[in-house]
């Protein structure tokens, strides 16, 4: 048989262009949605709305994003992903531009709370991470960490951008600018670079020259794991899904609650609003390092132990925050306790995302990963929504945040145990490839 023309291996694996594209998409879409707070005051002033009315759109948006994600994940799995990402980008861009026409609170709730949330669900990190899982195995957690870091950076870059643009122009023009940013920059980039799988381009996963079979310690194997799911319902009958998703629900409750209640809590402790916001801002900034570090370490040392460690550290952070006040330890009940908490929380905030997503991908494979990740994310959002209301109600009842913060902090320890007890070496395709155990019987 005659040899074909010589074709050198590409210097840079095409998957890295996908990673860069998804980072940019996460940056602009997450950033644009996180910038909602910038619009609250100018819209309140123009329409004479109260704070609760305007923030209802944000709350509804968070709930819709969680509820819709499993359905969008199902469409993602069925269509391959590229189409839903392109349609999602067009929809979110157009919706943001239409927000400039806001004239009534119902319009705002429908546009931002419903349409923008559904559109953003199409380009969510769950979906883009599920697509990256097809391109990478050995560096799966690393690329998912990079993807999450893009979203973290979005808040740091787009929010100040929107804030200064509102001040320099007006809120209507700023909505248009954010929409145009997505349509003119992110959409063409997605159109050019997104490919559904390496096979579509004649490439192998991770840019390998030949497909490899069989497991080898250290995580460089190819092939399905024992719980590989061909139907999205299969993971419900196995333990790892519940161990990871229930822990993820605690994750949602411990992060989203802080987004809403941390600054008021710090002010209640006697910190000035400016310093409270500074501590919170630094906490958010540390997210980037947390997600990147978690991804890199998980590819080297495995996922579940690191995930358990993250929950354990976060739980310890909550204890540092709350217990000194209860036991009268003056040193940690002041600003030092807040700073220590910010440090621990900042590194662990987004670190769970690449760990959870890569663990799901390793255990259940990529065929239905969009749906599975979407359902895990729905658990996360359920925890988030419950915790925000729970903290508000308990604050009204007790006059402080001590009880709700203590409860969610304690919950992090069983979450850590839940993650730790996942039998990664038995079920992850990083360690085993033989489909010896049917999906329905996983323990």
């Amino acid at each position: 048989m005659a040899a074909g023309p010589v074709r050198n291996k590409p210097r840079i694996f095409y998957g890295w262009y996908m990673v860069a594209t998804f980072m940019f998409i996460a940056l602009v879409t997450t950033g644009a949605r996180n910038a909602f707070g910038v619009f609250v005051i100018p819209m309140e002033e123009e329409f004479d709305w109260n704070r609760t009315t305007v923030t209802a759109a944000g709350f509804i948006g968070a709930v819709v994003a969680g509820v819709i994600q499993p359905f969008l994940g199902r469409i993602f799995d069925a269509t391959g992903g590229r189409k839903i990402i392109l349609v999602g980008l067009i929809s979110i861009g157009v919706t943001l531009i239409l927000l400039s026409l806001t004239f009534h609170i119902i319009f705002l709730i429908l546009m931002f709370g419903v349409f923008a949330s559904v559109a953003a669900g199409g380009v969510s990190i769950n979906n883009t991470s599920a697509m990256l899982a097809r391109w990478f195995r050995r560096r799966r957690a690393t690329v998912m960490g990079l993807n999450a870091a893009g979203a973290s950076l979005g808040g740091m870059v787009i929010v100040p951008f929107a804030m200064f643009l509102v001040q320099a122009t007006n809120w209507r023009l700023t909505w248009v600018a954010l929409g145009v940013l997505i349509l003119v920059l992110a959409l063409p980039l997605a159109f050019i670079f997104i490919r559904e799988s390496p096979a579509q381009m004649g490439l192998q996963t991770d840019g390998d020259e030949e497909p490899s079979d069989g497991a080898s310690p250290g995580g460089s194997q190819h092939g399905p794991g024992p719980l590989e799911a061909s139907k999205w319902t299969q993971p419900f009958r196995s333990w790892p899904f519940w161990q990871v998703s229930l822990a993820y629900m605690v994750c949602g409750s411990t992060t989203f609650m802080l987004s809403v209640h941390f600054v008021p809590y710090a002010v209640d402790r006697g910190v000035s609003p400016g310093l409270a916001a500074t501590i919170f801002g630094i906490m958010l900034g540390l997210n980037v390092f947390g997600s990147l570090g978690a991804g890199l370490l998980a590819d080297r040392f495995g996922r579940k132990n690191l995930l358990a460690l993250v929950y354990l550290l976060r739980g310890s952070g909550y204890m540092i925050l709350i217990l000194p006040g209860i036991f009268g330890l003056t040193l940690l009940s002041g600003n030092l306790g807040l700073w220590l908490f910010a440090l621990v929380m900042g590194f662990s905030w987004w670190a769970t995302l690449p760990l959870t997503s890569s663990l799901n991908a390793d255990v259940y494979g990529t065929q239905t990963l969009g749906t599975i990740s979407g359902i895990s994310f729905a658990f996360h959002q359920i925890g988030a929504a419950i915790s925000v209301l729970f903290a508000a109600v308990l604050y009204d009842l007790t006059g402080s945040y001590t009880v709700p913060f203590l409860i969610v902090g304690i919950l992090l320890f069983p979450a850590a145990f839940s993650a730790f007890s996942v039998k990664e070496r038995k079920y992850s395709s990083r360690y085993v490839t033989s489909p010896a155990v049917p999906a329905a019987s996983g323990d």
Binding site: P5, V6, R7, N8, P10, R11, I12, Y17, A20, T21, F24, V28, G37, V38, V157, I158, V159, P160, F161, M163, F164, L165, Q167, A168, L181, L185, A186, P188, L189, I192, F193, V263, G274, A277, T278, F280, G281
Partner: protein, 58 residues
């Protein structure tokens, strides 16, 4: 927090919001444009190398 970010940036930059808007806007445009240009340059180099390798073989 937004007020704090603004105060910090005003302190660092000491100028109007347009500077921040222009700087961030430029960075946002530069990323996708840079990525496409880099990809095209790599593609061109790979094609040239493949062409050379095919020629050497013949």
């Amino acid at each position: 927090m937004l007020v704090w970010i603004k105060q910090l940036m005003d302190h660092v930059l000491g100028s109007s919001g347009w500077v921040v808007v222009a700087a961030v806007g430029l960075a946002l445009v530069a990323f996708p444009v840079g990525l496409v240009l880099f990809y095209l340059s790599q593609l061109r180099r790979e094609r040239a190398e493949n062409y050379q390798a095919t020629g050497d073989e013949q």
